[in-house]
């Protein structure tokens, strides 16, 4: 079975500051990792995904994440945030295994203020 832990429930930052949202996972099989963003009253949108290959993955809106197998982490980063990045961010893990669905972390609320 897989599990995901998002280490911070809330992250407040000022506009134009860098941000890192932390995610750790556990799994007994090979996994695929995702970050999703949820704006208020909307569904989830895919930010980026790691399947294999380069451990640094670039996504939309200037976000990137780094897969670290030894530390079982997949932290999300952005060098300079905007007010419009205020949202809920979810890390998710999927197993390369039939009959399984994405497992989501509990989410991190990113609040960007001026």
């Amino acid at each position: 079975a897989q599990s995901v832990t998002q280490l911070d429930s809330q992250v407040p930052v000022f506009e134009e500051a860098p941000v890192e949202l932390r995610c750790n996972y556990s799994s007994s099989v090979s996994v695929y990792l995702f970050w999703y963003v949820q704006y208020p009253n909307q569904g989830l949108q895919l930010l980026l995904k790691y399947l294999s290959g380069s451990t640094l993955v670039k996504g939309i809106n200037g976000f990137e994440a780094e897969f670290n197998k030894s530390q079982t982490s997949f932290h999300l980063r952005k060098p300079s945030v905007h007010i419009s990045d205020t949202a809920e961010y979810f890390c998710a893990v999927g197993a390369n295994q039939a009959g399984t669905a994405l497992i989501f972390g509990k989410g991190t609320t990113l609040s960007v203020s001026s």
């Binding site: 909307q42 989830l44 009959g99 994405l102």
Partner: protein
């Protein structure tokens, strides 16, 4: 064109009633899902269908019954609604169930409030 659409967007009903939520995807995906998001925003898988066949059925009360008339539609019927059923229900689809790295495409959710 909305890729994954759910109706209704809001649903307010009383305890004991029966209600349905409909979902349609026009992405040509083979697999559809229902997720429940509680008041703390925790997302939990409820069901998954692959080409009209139920493949994931988590520990959900049997008052919840999904139905997939074809691979583009997945509906959720809930009998005898309880206060604890209040949540946002998300429909999602993906290209191939279990295929490596198939991301989910989500609808905008149905906010169910049981009074």
């Amino acid at each position: 064109d909305t890729a994954v659409s759910q109706t209704p967007k809001y649903l307010v009903t009383q305890m004991g009633n029966d209600k349905s939520i409909k979902c349609e995807q026009n992405l040509g995906h083979d697999t559809m899902y229902w997720y429940k998001q509680d008041s703390k925003k925790f997302l939990k898988i409820m069901f998954s269908y692959n080409n009209k066949e139920l493949i994931i059925n988590e520990t959900v009360p049997n008052r919840f019954s999904p139905k997939s008339p074809d691979k583009a539609h997945l509906n959720l019927h809930i009998n005898s609604l309880e206060l604890g059923d209040s949540a946002v229900y998300f429909c999602a689809s993906s290209q191939l169930q279990g295929a490596p790295g198939s991301p989910l495409h989500f609808g905008n959710g149905t906010r169910l409030t049981v009074t």
